[in-house]
Amino acid sequence: SSGGTNGGTDGGESGGGSGTGTDSGGDSGSDGGGSASTATLWAWNDPGLSPIRDEQASELAQQSDAISDVSWEYYPFENYLAKATTAIPAGNAPDSLALSVLWVPRFADKGVALNLEEHGFDPDDYVSAARSNASYDDTLWAVPWYADCRLVAINTKMFEEAGLEVPDPTYRPSWEEFGSWVDTLAKEHGTGYSMSAGEGFDCFALSNGSGYLNEDGTEAIINNDAALEAANFLQPKVVEEESIIARNPGGTAAIEDLLAGESAMCFAGSWHYPRLRDSGLDWQYMPYPGGPQIEKSHTWSAGVFYSIPKRGGANQDIGLEWLNYINSMEVQKNVTKSMGGFPGRKDAYETDAFQSFIENNPKLKPVAQEMENTISFPSHPEVTKMWNTVHTQAQSMWQGEEPEKALDKAAKEINALL
């Protein structure tokens, strides 16, 4: 459950304080009767998404002849996998279930997911990060419901108070520039930037051209020069100057430092949009700073992916109906509007509906821009462990461990998994 939950997989932080909405508890299970049957769908719990899930479910039930009714079951993110892994071998599998990108390879590897290419889904339909996240062994096992990316959110008022000029929302700063902002903001407000201990580091490493594994997935590169440079850039600011806060899991998150006025910049995801929108602050997104090696701002892409259990008693026809439904253009082009995520299908970006939505919500422009720069997770069944390893070592760096040692250790543990 550790780092993996922290938004990296889009772990349901897209909630937000909207505070209104219909019954989210998911008590939707009244039996329709007749010949058509009830679809059982699982997802980890996310109150912000429950309304749209219910809406889509009833729409599907209306459209479909085979499905009379859809029953959603939600479980807390931390227990979701445990729940799924006990239920499937015991024969209690749902007809389709949401998977985090960290889990898709595992399900595929264990032969629990249905091969979607055999059922008419085409991997080429999806944007590259989403496609890669949904695939394992070059085969598609899941359909992205939506995809996301990571950015920086800033409090523009605090920027002005510190005497800084508020950057253009689509402007991508360099590390140097970003570092000077942090220093200035810290002088004025005590803290310049707040990030999560693990992903805060990941994103800097990715933005500098590093990653967990090399191109062909045979070796860890998390201890290469690019990653080390990222660590060396961050460590003094976290450990000595304390101008950057690195949040460990289990407490408050980086976004909450922004909301509380503790820091003027924070690590944020596209899914934080509703919460920021409703906060009443003067804020904007900003692309992740580009690194010295590559000036592009690569960050992880994740999202929610639906898959069909191959075993455990799932009704695969019903599952396929659901996947086809969410894969439809009708659904994909509206994901941003309805849930703040971004479409997995390439062609959805071309639609008028998507375009006009972005026009009406200019604060999302940097998101739309950065989606193209996202990177997918390694397609390896043990990717969760890699994730844990790197994040544990990142935490240790913020406790003062020498970056080189920490990263070598992470690399060693990752290599052991390959």
Partner: protein, 296 residues
């Protein structure tokens, strides 16, 4: 072994303090004692008070007013929201059904087993007792997976039964009731036997009525325990309308880090019934714990 009784546990006045050390020394000692106790009482209660106060802040102002301990304009909006957006009533009902069910069966089976272990005379008694003591030590997480498979094989998953059995099987109550029954004199049993009671009638007519204080303590104890149950119901249930309150609260947010106001409101709601019951029957609660003591 040991006997149990709560006769000694009087939280009132009167006791072994010898009076003759009056005077200055005594007054100072008492004042210091009051101070220490007051300090600890404060330490023990302040977190709850604080949680309550925070839950009175509007959701989107929690972080902006983080340093105000007493909310400027308290509101029950979080409570209203949490209640409106979630089937809290259903969850509470589930919790009640589970807790009451478990309490009932625990009391029934544990008094029976405790009676047999304390007063019975049959082969294998010491074996059973050893098992009881031994399994007290097993962390419940350990049996999670095999038990899930077992429940599933029985086709019991997603039923109240499946949740309840794990708690009913808990050996603690058996142990506690045995300790209690050991303290009841055998002559009472013999008198009942002379009066014509069968072994089982002795249980219903004599032992059970005598065990009332222990029963209420064990009941309360079990109730708290089941009320706080989280992992097992979550794993075994497939239907969120079956969730008990604690699991439901786990669903309030994707992660704990968001919607703190509602979460704390829910925490207060979840803690309230037990705390209220506790305040009403403080003695019973403490006796429940004290009854477990004295064992070696």
């Amino acid at each position: 072994m040991t006997t149990l009784s709560t006769d000694e546990l009087d939280f009132g006045d009167g006791g072994p303090e010898v009076q003759h050390e009056g005077s200055w020394y005594d007054t100072v000692a008492k004042a210091v004692a009051h101070l220490v106790l007051l300090f600890f009482s404060a330490v023990m209660t302040i977190p709850f008070v604080w949680a309550f106060l925070t839950s009175l802040k509007p959701e989107n102002k929690i972080f902006t007013t983080i340093r105000q301990i007493i909310p400027a304009d308290p509101t029950f909006a979080n409570y209203v929201n949490v209640w409106m957006q979630n089937p809290l009533d259903r969850w509470i009902l589930n919790s009640l059904v589970l807790a009451v069910g478990v309490v009932f069966f625990t009391l029934l089976l544990d008094t029976l087993a405790g009676y047999a272990l304390a007063k019975g005379d049959f082969k294998g008694k010491s074996l059973v007792y050893t098992l009881v003591i031994g399994t007290l030590v097993i962390p419940p997480q350990v049996v999670l997976v095999p038990l899930y498979l077992e429940m599933n094989a029985l086709n019991w998953s997603n039923t109240y039964w499946a949740i309840m059995v794990l708690y009913i099987a808990n050996p603690f109550g058996t142990f506690m009731m045995r300790q209690f029954f050991l303290g009841i004199p055998d002559s009472l049993i013999e008198a009942a036997r002379m009066d014509g009671c069968s072994t089982f009638q002795i249980y219903t007519r004599v032992m059970l009525p005598l065990a009332k204080p222990a029963l209420s303590s064990l009941g309360v104890f079990t109730f708290i325990f089941v009320w706080g149950a989280f992992l097992w119901p979550l794993v075994i249930l497939n239907d969120s309308s079956m969730y008990p309150l604690q699991v439901g609260i786990g669903l309030l947010t994707g992660r704990y880090s968001s919607q703190w106001g509602q979460l704390l409101a829910a925490v207060v709601i979840a803690a309230l019934p037990v705390i209220a019951a506790y305040l009403l029957a403080q003695r019973t609660f403490m006796e429940g714990i004290a009854l477990t003591g004295g064992k070696g």
